[in-house]
Point group: C2
Chain length 315, copies 2
């Protein structure tokens, strides 16, 4: 006697995804005729009957995804959220939005509410000191943004690749006296990873690094530029566009507009305001699209969590 098949077995035998099988079972008109015929023939052949509880679970889905941003006024997160919303909306999902303001306690609270509401999935903009143990039961329906974590699904920005792309570009332009303005290394991505990429690059090139770290504000960029400037400085690479704007202002005041200032994040203000500047586009929106797709692959197709690094745009 044949062993009882699951919906996943039917999907594999038909060469389609789990969600397509679901759609066939639920008589969704959006499945094309050929696919429907193939799935139905596999079902007929193997005598598959969906369990009552599976059908009930399926129909209980609200098609809602929770998105927990760290700050509503973060330009990078907004770009990513825009990509997520477009993707989710196209696939028939809506998004509930919450803001954590970098508080691990608020994250826990928001996740508990989303759980109680029975949302289908969650995208969380992660940061330091989150309680990953408490999140473990959510793993299958969770995607972390901007932080990876063993066992969890994630989409990270390419911090290392972005800083290296900028440094390589400056190298091609013959600039070798390149200082780095960064963020404290307690911040894993904007802080540690970007700074480390600069240090590694200098070592590989046999150069002496010259860097200083501060907070994320405009004033910090201004102050760090003052700290690092020497008569021979040719370029300043900054961990963010905000720092770059602060630095460019200082250099303008000092009459040192010969120094190239680079930022990260593609803020139009930097290049509009200051002539000798450039900014690398991190591809935040595309990263948001990737994250939404990855989440839907998990919750609709049963794919396992995976760690993705979203590529940055070429300079």
């Amino acid at each position: 006697m044949e062993k009882k098949l699951t919906i996943l077995d039917i999907a594999r035998l038909s060469g389609v995804g789990k969600s397509t099988v679901s759609r066939v079972l639920n008589q969704d008109p959006k499945v094309n005729a050929q696919t429907r015929a193939r799935v139905e023939s596999v079902i007929a052949q193997h005598g598959f009957v969906p369990s009552k509880s599976a059908r009930a679970m399926r129909s209980q889905s609200q098609q809602v995804v929770g998105i927990v941003v760290s700050r509503l006024d973060s330009s990078s997160e907004n770009q990513a959220v825009r990509g997520m919303l477009e993707t989710l909306y196209q696939r028939g999902y809506d998004a509930v939005l919450m803001e954590s303001k970098f508080s691990p306690a608020k994250v826990s609270e928001h996740l508990a509410v989303l759980e109680r509401r029975g949302v289908d999935g969650i995208i969380l903009f992660a940061f330091n000191d989150l309680d990953y143990a408490a999140m473990a039961p959510l793993r299958e329906k969770l995607v972390l943004m901007a932080r990876e974590r063993p066992g969890f699904s994630s989409v990270c920005f390419d911090d290392d690749g972005a800083v290296r792309a900028v440094l390589a570009h400056l190298g091609e332009r013959g600039l070798t006296e390149v200082a780095y303005l960064g963020v404290e290394r307690s911040d894993l991505t904007t802080g540690l990873r970007r700074h480390q990429a600069y240090l590694d690059y200098c070592r590989e090139q046999g150069r002496t690094p010259r860097s200083a770290l501060g907070d994320l504000g405009l004033q910090s960029g201004y102050r760090l530029a003052a700290e690092l400037l020497t008569p021979t400085t040719q370029a300043m690479v900054c961990a963010s566009d905000t720092l770059a704007i602060g630095a460019a202002k200082y250099l303008q005041e000092q009459g040192r507009t010969d120094i190239l200032v680079s930022g990260l994040g593609s803020n139009p203000m930097l290049t509009f305001l200051f002539a000798n500047t450039l900014s690398l586009d991190f591809g935040y929106k595309d990263a948001g699209i990737l994250a939404a797709r990855q989440l839907l692959d998990q919750i609709e197709e049963g794919q396992p969590p995976r760690a993705t690094i979203a590529p940055c745009q070429p300079l």
Copy 2:
């Protein structure tokens, strides 16, 4: 024989809101003992029995509010949304977020989805050319942001008051040669209303207005400043901080940092980058809080739609 009482009658007789009566009926522990006793005594006295359908409707509430923003990357809308989320969250509601990108068709589509989902209420960042006739059935559970409309509930920013506050402040500083950089009057609020406030103020003060209108971008501010600058200009009042940044850059290049540039919106970049500038805080976050409260008053207490103008912050 007594006429059958509604839940609203019980609320009035008890001197509490409709939602408090609901909470007492649903044995919500958050109602304080004294209030509960008062409501229960009124109920006992008048023999009120909630109708089955009213109870069913009440329990069907998902405590979800839809927010339709025009652009996710709008700093002013983000500030307002932050105020909304905080207020809704405190009151036990979550928010589903959608983006219209200023497309009336997208607004219709989003509203239809929110309706199908049975959300409790909707806050819509409104703009030109919306189909208000189609929205009429939603009136009781809808609040418009940034546009008022007869019969609809709304929270508007004080465009007229903000421009007048800036002009009065410049007057106190003895500046009378004041040009205005604005946005096309096809935009009702940032365009028409702010420009009109400037024209009215000039007429009242017996001054000759000097203004030019363009789009919302940085380049537009730069270009309009070039167009309006005269040897005697003392100040430039701009319809937005973005325009003000563009204008300040032009004036810096011309060596005319004697001219004061004012923006609207409290963007920290303007005052950080340019010395002789100021920006009036529109109070966007407070306006968001007002809108959320107004919506909850409508859907929980049955209050009628009303038009509110959120005050701007003093300079």
